[in-house]
Structure formats: C-alpha cells, structure tokens
Symmetry: none
Subunit: 410 residues, 2 copies
C-alpha cells in the first residue's frame, strides 16, 4: 500500500457574494475531485485547530505531523527550498523582489508579479558583500518570479529583529533589533544594508529600465522577511518509516520536504503560480509513487490567485488541479494506492488572506468506509464520514491505511 497526497494551496475558501454565495470549489464543479470524494470518505480538516489561521509553513508542517507552534519563521524552509545548504547558526529569510519609490516607500510588494525577468535581475545580486557589516556573509537566491531567500551567516547574529514585509505606503529598510543584544543590532544593520545595496544594484538595471519604459513596476529592491534559525525537525522517515517524495513548485514546500529528509522531485513547468503545468505534476507523481511509499503533490496556484483577489484565476487553477486529480486517480488502483485530497488552509479571495476556517479533505481507498458525500467542497464534505478532524490527524489516518500500525498498549 502507498499513498498520494494532493494539496491545493489555499484552495478552500468562504462563500463569495460574486459567486452567488458558492465557494470557488463549488463554482468550479471539479468532476474528478468529486469522483475522488465519491470513492472515499470525506470530512472537514482544521489545519491546526478551529478558528486558527495558519501560514503555509504552519499548515503544511501540521499536516505532516510536526508541531506548528514551534515555527519561528518561514525563512529556513524557503532557503532550503531554494537550494541553499543551511548551517545551524544561520539566520534565513524569505525575500520579495519589490518596488519602492525614491524615498524608499513601498509601492508594490511583488513588483507587479515579475516573472522570467527576475532571474536576470538576480544575477546582479549573486555576490553581494556587505561593506559596513563585512564580517556577516550574505547568500541570496531568487527562486520563482518575485520570490527568493536570503541567508545571513557569521558569528554573533540573531533572528530577533523586526524584519516583516512592509505594506504599500510603508517605509522599507527600517529593520530594528527586538532586544538589547549586540547580535540583534548587528543583524538589523546588516539587513538594512543588504536592502540598500539591493536597491543600488537593481534600480538602474537594464531589465528595470525596460520595465519602466513599458510602465511596469521595476523590481528595484529585495525585502527580507520571516527570518529564523533553521528549525530542527525529526526526519520524516524516522518518524513514520515511510519513503516520501515531494512534488512542488513553491520553495517553501520544497524546503519543508528537504529539511524533513524527503526526496524532492523537480518538475519542469512547475511554476508555483496559476500557469503551472499540473499534468506534468500528475505524471511525475505517477512515476514517483513507483518507488516511494508516499508522494506529496503540492500546487501553489490557488493561493496566489486568492492573495490577488483573482476569482476567475482561482476557479481556473482549481479546474487544472481537477484534471491533475483525474490523471492520477485514473491511473492508480484504489486497492493499492490511497489518494488523499485536501487544501492546506483557506485563503479568502475576499480578504486576500489566510483564514481560520476548515478545509475539505477526501480520502479515496477501498479500505475506507465510503460515505455518501459525492462532491469535494467545503459544504458537501461537512457531512462526510471523517467528521471534523485536525492537521495532526492526517498522517496517523494515512499510516493506518498504508499498513496496520503498531498497537498502543499490549
């Protein structure tokens, strides 16, 4: 027995006035997801607990059975996912390529969602060295479009600094230490210096000159946020005795996979956005399950569309994920392969933010007691046989289906 877990990032939502109080999953009428639910058992899943809104790091770690309350920041996962080898005392940050004006006021947190051109800009940032804080080494890596990761390395640095993503209209480059230590002060200074240097290197870059000429926002600064030292997590194999592989576009998810010791399957065409090649992911999953006990297929697109308030985009990527689900369930034997479908959290199109609502989950397998749920969405699954469960229950439920687990007690 083996399992494929399909995670639509931020795919679940609240009812929307614009959709006649249907959710995007209801509006998309995803036939293959509905088929999966029809062949299994469904329910509602609180990624952490009822009402608690999780970041993507907290949600996915919770679903994999790790304690989400221990997370200090998503930086280390982003950095690991970007391919940076972390050392124990590093402090790692998620980064955005963003647009600021000449007064360092935030104009666009994602630089107009810059895509391919970001790679060219990133070359200018490859060997940045700090001048004022020259004993701190910086490693920057751009990943997908506007996203990247930054690692600070050196003696006497600290994650206890106020490095958050500024909102449009706020001043950037104003990281402050959050305690009186010299480590926090040095780190805040180093971050502010890095942001300034990134602006110097990017503001007149030919790519940005071209973008300005086309009236696109220039990606003229790098903003580090959500910094933390690497989180020590128990290796996934040691925890569950399952050989696992992860297929994801988003660096955060790749990083969680790497830091938990899963193999990471790179799929060309996985962009982490709504244009991602979901059929390539389906094929990769079907290949990977031949040599793994568990394959996780994570699709970032619905979350991106939700953060943009893009209703049609969200429905469109849900339909693409639906095709991917179809390609997977049509090629596996549910007597041998358990297929789990869920969202990691709700990202509300209306509020453009993660919320604390539960998400639908469906588990297709000949081993489960099939209920009478025939649709995969927030409304239909609430009457399913799984009831209302939590993120921490997902792996025990899968383990219970894959092989009969060791008993508690005698």
């Amino acid at each position: 027995m083996r399992a494929i877990m399909i995670i639509g990032d931020g795919m679940a939502d609240r009812p929307l006035r614009e959709l006649d109080y249907k959710t995007p999953l209801e509006a998309a009428k995803p036939e293959h997801m509905d088929k999966l639910a029809s062949n299994g058992i469904s329910g509602l899943l609180d990624p952490i607990a009822p009402g608690i809104a999780p970041g993507s790091d907290a949600a996915n770690l919770s679903i994999l059975g790790y304690d989400p309350w221990k997370i200090k920041g998503r930086g280390p996962f982003e950095a690991a996912g970007a391919g940076i080898e972390l050392e124990a005392r590093d402090v790692a940050f998620r980064c955005n390529l963003a647009t600021v004006n000449e007064n360092f006021i935030m104009i666009d947190e994602r630089a107009g969602r810059i895509r391919e051109e970001a790679g060219e800009l990133a070359k200018a940032l490859q060997n940045v060295q700090l001048r004022e804080n020259s004993d701190i080494k910086v490693v920057f890596k751009q990943t997908l479009g506007f996203k990247g990761a930054l690692v600070l390395r050196g003696e006497g640095i600290s994650s206890n600094v106020s490095a958050t993503m500024p909102n449009a209209g706020d001043r950037v480059c104003s990281v402050k230490p959050l305690d009186a230590s010299s480590e926090a002060e040095r780190t805040a200074n180093a971050l502010n210096e890095f942001v300034k240097i990134s602006h110097e290197l990017l503001k007149d870059h030919p790519v940005n000159r071209r973008r300005i000429a086309k009236e696109k926002p220039p990606a003229n600064v790098v903003i580090p946020w959500s910094g933390a030292e690497p989180l020590i997590i128990q290796p996934f194999y040691e925890k569950y005795k399952l050989k696992a592989a992860c297929i994801a576009g988003a660096s955060l998810i790749k990083g969680i996979a790497k830091l938990s010791g899963m193999s990471v399957v790179d799929v060309s065409g996985a962009t982490g956005d709504i244009d991602t090649d979901t059929m390539a992911k389906a094929n990769a999953a079907l290949r990977a399950i031949e040599s793994n006990d568990l394959v996780i297929v994570h699709v970032e697109g619905p979350d991106e569309a939700s953060h943009d308030g893009n209703i049609r985009g969200k429905i469109s990527i849900i339909k693409k994920i639906d095709s991917m689900v179809g390609a997977i369930i049509d090629h596996v034997d549910l007597a041998e392969t358990v297929v789990v479908l869920l969202a990691d959290h709700v990202t509300s199109l209306r509020f453009r933010k993660h919320t604390g609502d539960p998400v639908p989950i469906a588990i297709a397998s000949t081993e489960v007691v099939q209920d009478d749920v025939r649709q995969y969405n927030e409304r239909a699954t609430c009457r399913g046989g799984l009831g209302r469960i939590q993120g921490k229950h997902v792996m025990p439920l899968i383990l219970n289906l894959l092989s009969i687990p060791e008993k508690i007690g005698g």
Copy 2:
C-alpha cells in the same frame, strides 16, 4: 464586523418521555432559532469535553476561552456579580435562602423559590457580625430571589472547607475543615456561626410568619456553598482585543463578565428566571452592539425551569428566548453582525441536574458556509457543518469571522 452571542442557560436537554421523546427545544418549535440556523452553520458543542457535566461557571468560562479546570468555586463570580468588591485573600461563597426545620434538617434548598420578599429578609442580614469568630468580617448580599453571595474577609482564612449545598433531609450547619490547618478550622467555624446567626435573624421575621401563615416554606436560613478565593483571569480585552458587553440576570454571569473586565449592562426586568423580560434584553443587546465588538446575552430561565423539573415552564421560556432571537436577527445585517446561538450546557428536566451532553450551536453570518440544517435543536444540528466542537473553540471561531486573525507561522 461584530458579534452577538445568545446563551440559553441549560436550554438544551435530553429527549423526554413526556414529550414523546422530543427534547424541549424540539417541542417548542422555535421559529426564529430555526431561521437563525437556516441562515448559518450549525453543530454540536461540548461545553468542556464529551460526557463532562459543567457547572454554569465552568461552562461559561470555557466558552469564553478560560480554562474551566482551574475553577475552585463559583463564589467569587457570584459575589462580584452581586456587586461586592473582592479582595485577593477573600473567600467568597454562593448562598441560598433555604428552609430548615427546628432540628436544622434541610426541607427546601430554595425556600419555595422565594421572590420579592427575599429583599426584605436580606435587610435583616445586612450588618451581621460574628461573635465567636469576631476577627473575620462577613459581607452578605442577596441578589435575585433566594440567591445571594457571602464574602469572608480577614487574616488566616481558607476555602478548604466542606461548604456544599445540603440535600433535603440532610443536616445543615455542619461545615468541616478539609485539612488540619487552623485557617480551615477557623473558616469552618465562622461559616457554621454565620448559618446559625442567619437562622436566629430570619426564623421569626414577619416575612416568614406571613409565609408560614400562607403555607409557604419560610426562608429561615442562609446556606453558603461553592467557596473559593477570587480566580485571576486574563482580561477579556487583553486576550481577544474585543470590546465586550454582557447582558445577564444571573449574578454568576454578571460576575464572570465583571471579573473578565467586560461591561455589564443592567436591564430592568431581567429576573434570572422564566418571567424575565427577554424583549428588554433584545433591545439592550441591539443598543449595546452599537458600541461593542461582542455582546453576550445570557438568559438564565431555562436552567431554573429544568432544576424544578418544570417541563411546561422550560418550553415557555424557550419560546420567549425565541422571540428575543427574532427581535435580534430581524434587526441586524448578517453581513456585518455574526449571531451565535447556543446553550451553555444541558440541564436535564428528568434528573433536574446538569449533564455532560453536547448542546446545539448555530452561527449565522454571510461569511460561513451555510449547511442544510434548518432547525435549532439537539437532533437537527448534529449533521451541521460545524461538526462537533468544544467550548474552547467558540471564541477562535468568532474571532476568525470578526476579523482575519494573525497567522501562525510565516
């Protein structure tokens, strides 16, 4: 966004043979409650956990997100609700005006549910001073009918005494220390002395002579029970950043509101019994929500009827609460105001006691995924979209609807 939480005290129940195995909520056919459920999401709520029977203090504190297992006694809440300013080392008790015979045997724990006359009797108890334990100060306050609160104040007192409510047939005035300390012994002595003095002051009181003449049980003793030192609880505003007001007749609930720093709205006609003016409460709630984020409307009546085994009374007060629910939901916009309806616990008409059964809960809002539950009762809500939740989940669920909460993780 803002929320009104309507709590029917002990409103939920078990199926009753006398009602053809319907519950009182089913028998009452409350049209407005059913409308509320139809416009929202429903479920079953364990006030603490499945099978655990809560006192009203534990149930309401749990629903507000406080740890019910930390409660040592309801006395401090009763005393605060009665308007007594508590000091940290006080020991406070709930009290009943009760009826004993000449041998101090309990005849009626509530003195025939004495009403208005209780205020006149209480005047006789206003300045009680202990003689044998004269260094302990006593403060007694009568609240609604047979209910009151007693505070003991002084050096070297202890709540570790056996002050419980005697059942009919038991001997009163037999409080004992529960440890070998002089504090517990002094406190037990003081309580027994107070009970004796209350009997001296009340037994020949003109009010009681009139009651005896009318063959009503005289309220000829005060019984203190459920004593404790004041519980330190985190202020509600500090915990949730919500400005909250509470509308309640019962001193216990008023006391919980006061000790958690909510504002307490006094409503004339709120009696804490089945004759309470529920429409006055509805109007007060609609006024209070103009200047608060959360208004709690608590109606004590169903609990009183249940403890009396009064089936018709319980159905009647449920219908009155139903009118109150109607007056509230007809005057709010569910896109702006979340309306939550629940019972704090089951009080069984048959057993005249709180039980550990779950209660129905419904949340009406345009932000929730409406389920197909069309009735508010113990049977219909069990298939609702909330599933089975616990008291501690209520506030996170409300916060999640009022404003998007801070994410856990990055």
